[in-house]
Symmetry: C3
Subunit: 205 residues, 3 copies
């Protein structure tokens, strides 16, 4: 499951890289960052070093393959924004669930395992966006980290209830994916704090 998540996140990173007209190596770096930063953060935080993404060459190979595929077969006619968002949602779902389960394995308590699952899910996207100096989607987008937390939380709850692992993981990931895609489709957004400020002022901050 980790490798599938790596692949789809790598695609989201590569698409952003191509979109920003990075060169082929920049695209590969961005696809590796998008696909591995979350897992690396989780592994460093729970003390599982060297992180799987570093010690296991299959993760690197997967992200390079995804990056090259996008680089060479990137269709300019693709509805780019939507495609990036869909792959991003799938990666988010897979990583949040896998991340939460790995944190549980390392003995973290359920609340913190859910949090680390969320970090695994959103870390790659944050690294990807920071690398191209864009405010991370997670901080602004419609129901992004919430979806990650939902997936991670369901996985942790399932483990706590001793439900069978694989169906729980699949359902948790689907719930996360569905919430994120519904949020994109229907434009659901979390509330913004009420201020009397005019939004246009913010540019000056």
């Amino acid at each position: 499951m980790d490798l599938v998540g790596t692949f789809v996140f790598a695609i989201s990173g590569a698409m952003l890289g191509v979109h920003r007209r990075l060169d082929v190596f920049g695209v590969l770096v961005l696809s590796f960052a998008a696909s591995s930063a979350g897992g690396i953060m989780r592994d460093v935080l729970i003390g599982a070093v060297p992180p799987t993404a570093i010690s296991d060459w299959r993760y690197l190979a997967t992200s390079v393959a995804a990056g090259l595929a996008i680089f060479f077969w990137y269709s300019p006619w693709a509805r780019l924004h939507t495609a990036i968002q869909l792959f991003d949602a799938a990666g988010l779902a897979l990583f949040s669930v896998a991340g939460a389960e790995k944190a549980l394995t390392y003995g973290l308590d359920p609340l913190m395992a859910a949090l680390l699952g969320m970090v695994t899910g959103i870390g790659g996207g944050m690294a990807r966006d920071i690398l191209v100096t864009r405010t991370p989607t997670v901080l602004q987008a419609d129901i992004y980290a919430v979806a990650a937390l939902l997936g991670a939380g369901l996985a942790v709850t399932g483990s706590w209830l001793r439900l069978p692992l694989v169906p729980t993981a699949i359902l948790s990931a689907l719930a996360c994916f569905a919430l994120r895609v519904a949020a994109i489709h229907f434009g659901w957004r979390l509330p913004v704090a009420l201020t009397s400020r005019d939004p246009r002022d913010d540019a000056a901050t």
Copy 2:
């Protein structure tokens, strides 16, 4: 002391998040990043994994409470810039001192413990600013990292002289806070290198 520092830094992060019109979860992520990134960096660097901010739920609870408080009771009439700076200065003072003392406990030599104290103090603010793609205050502001280094250095010196822990910590934190607030109030700044360049050129860099 760590929890108090967490609270005030979380407030500074939440205020910036509200100011940038992030949604409620974005505000919480920013308050967690501002309050925990410095401590997490320190813990990862000294090998104390999982970091306290991850393994102890009280840190998360504190930053979430601070973030929600700001989100719901954010007064648009607050003199925002000043308030963020004051909370930031308090967090800086508390974290620098606590960070230096934790690094000493892990057996680092005094010079490096003072440096890690400074990292603990400025790390949260740097992470907060980078997340909203703002050049970190620490690199530009009046006497920011210097104040953190003063607090951390005093705490390390006190420990080296075997002075009693609590009074030393309080005085070190007060010295750091006072220096930072004085620098804000009087507009003290560190010198910038002399160049013949016209500042207006920099926009093009």
Copy 3:
């Protein structure tokens, strides 16, 4: 070799800091970040904590010395852009090779050691650029990460063939440096993916 790399990378960081008109402490933070971030990333990833750059005061002293030297003797007439790029290329070469060799020492397999050498080389520059909210050079520049990978790969190959350590390291670093400088001089660039998009559109992304 690590200390020489620290020095030249610190100079590249300090020059960027002066160029962006940071104050003296900001310049020092930027020179420390540019010179140490790559090595710290490598050490955290392979579990060598506390990282050398933190536990050995000579790294800090070297980067502070380089930062102060640039701050006080920065010549406004220097051909700034070229100078930063040359120092950056030298640091890249030294760090990639030293990083790959350290990763080998910690038992990583050759492919991953070469990758970590590249991370060591490009990490400092990425941290430096992110701190001043600039899209990292590595993602856009002519043959940057490729040169790092070449140096690291040669060093790993040499070690695998049991060639003598010092000549291998020097030749690997020279190859990396030469490739990078040639790429700058002749304007070599890696290809960008073909899209039908007008480059001017990207500003709106």
